[in-house]
């Protein structure tokens, strides 16, 4: 099992390598001066000189790459061209917001998706199945921005139950300790704050989680149906076990495996979707920051963020693989 983990970790390295090369090449292979490409409209002579120096643009290409990799490995992601602030710190400050939103969306998607999928699998080809299929279809077909805007409209104009923007009511004055609003409100001993923060999470989490909801529902349904047709389920029934026991121990224990994998794979899509969701709901996280940076051509923010996202994505995939190997005795004990 340990060998399996190590093998998977080793396999991830070339991908990261490749990505760093791609990002490096991007700037240098575009026609024209790399400093122009990076600075775009911010190209003051001082800025140009600064960039030239820090990137070592007068040195040979391979040396530049070494400098670049050295910086990356030290965790130096450069600084914002606009504000001058180090990318790493700004990212760290904003990241908890995105994580909180992503986790909330995932809880929503899995918490609703798995029971829905099981429900559909119990009544294959009947109206319950059709109903769940429709929900699933809507989830992947309605774009996040359409759903998000619709939720904002519905709850903003007409039903004032839920807030439609921001992470918390600013008048509550909660100080930022961890960056996770739900935790910070607990630290500040403010139950009102906690509930307010939670309320702010609802609509964005639903919008962001709509696609994972659809996918998780589908895969759960398919997995439960597949497993239900397996021979060992028939054996379990032939042994006289109650339907409940057959369902829990024999069907679900086996049906979980693909579902877990899929949930893990959703994380990448969630990070992407966070970009749009944060923009719509004015949520201070990394997503919106990156999009603004792209539009401002604030190169180092974009590069650093993409790299971190990629690392997170690969790490999550690795964890999912490990979890799968752990849950599946056929891999664990071989």
């Amino acid at each position: 099992m340990l060998k399996y983990i190590l093998r998977r970790m080793v396999a991830a390295i070339p991908v990261l390598f490749g990505l760093s090369i791609v990002l490096f090449a991007f700037v240098h292979l575009l026609p024209g001066d790399p400093t122009r490409a990076i600075l775009g409209q911010h190209a003051t002579p001082e800025a140009v000189a600064r960039i030239r120096e820090s990137l070592g643009l007068d040195k040979p290409m391979w040396q530049q790459y070494v400098i670049y990799m050295g910086q990356l490995l030290r965790g130096d992601l450069g600084a914002s061209i606009v504000t001058g602030a180090p990318v790493r710190e700004d990212f760290a400050a904003r990241f908890p917001g995105t994580i909180e939103l992503t986790i909330a969306a995932l809880i929503f998607a899995a918490g609703l998706g798995i029971p829905l999928g099981r429900f559909a699998a119990r009544h294959p080809q009947q109206w319950q199945d059709g109903f769940v299929t429709v929900i699933s279809l809507l989830g992947i077909s309605i774009p996040i921005f359409v759903l998000g805007l619709s939720l904002q409209w519905g709850f903003g104009a007409n039903l004032h139950w839920l807030p439609t923007s921001g992470r918390i009511d600013p008048r509550l004055n909660i100080s930022t300790v961890t960056g996770f609003m739900l935790i910070d409100t607990v630290i500040a001993r403010s139950p009102q704050g906690f509930f307010d923060a939670a309320k702010h999470l609802v609509l964005p989490a639903i919008a962001l989680g709509s696609i994972p909801l659809a996918i998780i529902t589908r895969i759960t349904r398919a997995s439960v149906l597949d497993v239900s047709n397996e021979d060992y389920v028939r054996t379990a029934r032939a042994k006289g076990l109650t339907e409940r026991r057959v369902d829990d121990r024999h069907i679900m224990r086996n049906a979980w495996l693909p579902v877990v994998t899929v949930i893990g794979l959703q994380v990448g899509g969630l990070l992407a979707g966070a970009v749009i969701t944060e923009t719509i709901f004015a949520w201070t996280g990394v997503g919106k920051w990156v999009v603004d940076a792209i539009q401002d051509r604030d190169y180092f923010i974009v590069q650093g963020s993409i790299l971190i996202f990629a690392i997170i994505f690969l790490v999550v995939n690795l964890l999912v693989d490990i979890l799968y190997a752990y849950l599946n005795p056929r891999i664990r004990y071989s």
């Binding site: 070339p14 490749g18 279809l137 921005f145 359409v146 990448g268 749009i276 923009t279 990629a310 994505f313």
Partner: protein
């Protein structure tokens, strides 16, 4: 169950694959959701084709004094901030989405199939290089990749198409490679080789037709995501450079500013995108079920 040995003569094979298609076609006809999907797609295509007819004044025409008006007989979908008819704009938006969507998927399909075919046919280091590239592409979450490409290469239709195409490439490449690898080891290919079929003949005659069906399903579903992604780019301000363009996603940026005052700015383009995507998804799902030769029921 009695088993039938797959015949390898070209005539018999052609008969067999036509049989599969005919069977799939008749199954599709019975599949209600798929038919609804086909209907939606037809509506979408008709909207694109008939835009000049149904909206004769064009998407840029303004109607002074009628800005931000709700739906009425004169303006079926209302008017926007610049007093333009939303109905006409949504119709013309269908043209953009249709063309950009189809071209992106075709591009992604071509590149992906080429990569997958090379990887699957040659194996070895060719395979390794192709698949590492695919992995790198996949390590950047979907829309960020598209955003990155458009932001760096600038705004414009070719860039948008390229960006969306690139997000599709990994899916097609992996799919085709997987099919080819599985087929390489499958019994009927080994049988064909044992009677002396050459690698080229093998690829074209025996393996591709089988690998084709999952690709068709994937391409249909990819069209749905392409339309959504293109609109997404538009929503984030990375759509076609001309700000007057009636692109569905770009229309929604306006909708944001006037959400409470003029919800029809959201409803109609939003419905257009969603229904089109629903249509392609339903057809894709229907195809997947119908083309599955294993009769599970």
């Amino acid at each position: 169950m009695t088993s039938t040995v797959a015949s390898l003569t070209p005539a018999a094979e052609a008969r067999a694959s036509r049989g599969l298609w005919r069977d799939a076609f008749s199954r599709m006809l019975r599949n209600k959701p798929a038919l609804i999907g086909v209907f939606l797609i037809i509506v979408f295509v008709l909207a694109a084709l008939l835009a000049p007819v149904l909206g004769p004044d064009g998407p840029y025409q303004t109607y002074p004094g009628a800005s931000l008006k709700p739906p009425s007989q004169a303006h079926l979908f209302g008017t926007d901030r610049l007093a333009r008819d939303m109905f006409t704009r949504v119709l013309y938006g269908a043209q953009i989405s249709l063309v950009v969507g189809v071209v992106s998927v075709v591009m992604g399909l071509s590149i992906g199939v080429l990569m997958g075919a090379l990887a699957g046919a040659f194996g070895g280091w060719v395979d390794a290089v192709m698949m590492r590239t695919v992995d790198v592409l996949l390590s950047i979450p979907g829309i960020l990749l598209a955003i990155g490409i458009v932001a760096w290469l600038g705004r414009g239709y070719p860039q948008i198409m390229l960006a969306v195409a690139v997000t599709n490439v990994p899916i097609f490449a992996r799919l085709l490679r997987g099919s080819l690898l599985a087929l390489r080891e499958s019994e009927f290919v080994i049988a064909a080789r044992s009677i002396g079929a050459s690698p080229g003949r093998l690829l074209v005659r025996h393996m591709m037709p089988n690998a084709l069906t999952p690709l068709i399903v994937a391409a249909t579903l990819a069209l749905a995501t392409a339309i959504i992604d293109v609109a997404g780019l538009g929503f984030l301000g990375l759509g076609p450079p001309d700000p007057r363009t009636p692109e569905w996603g770009t229309m929604l940026t306006d909708a944001r500013s006037f959400l409470q005052r003029a919800p029809w700015l959201l409803i109609f383009p939003g419905l257009a995108i969603s229904l089109t995507a629903i249509g392609f998804n339903m057809v894709g799902d229907g195809l997947r079920e119908s083309l599955d030769p294993r009769m599970k029921r």
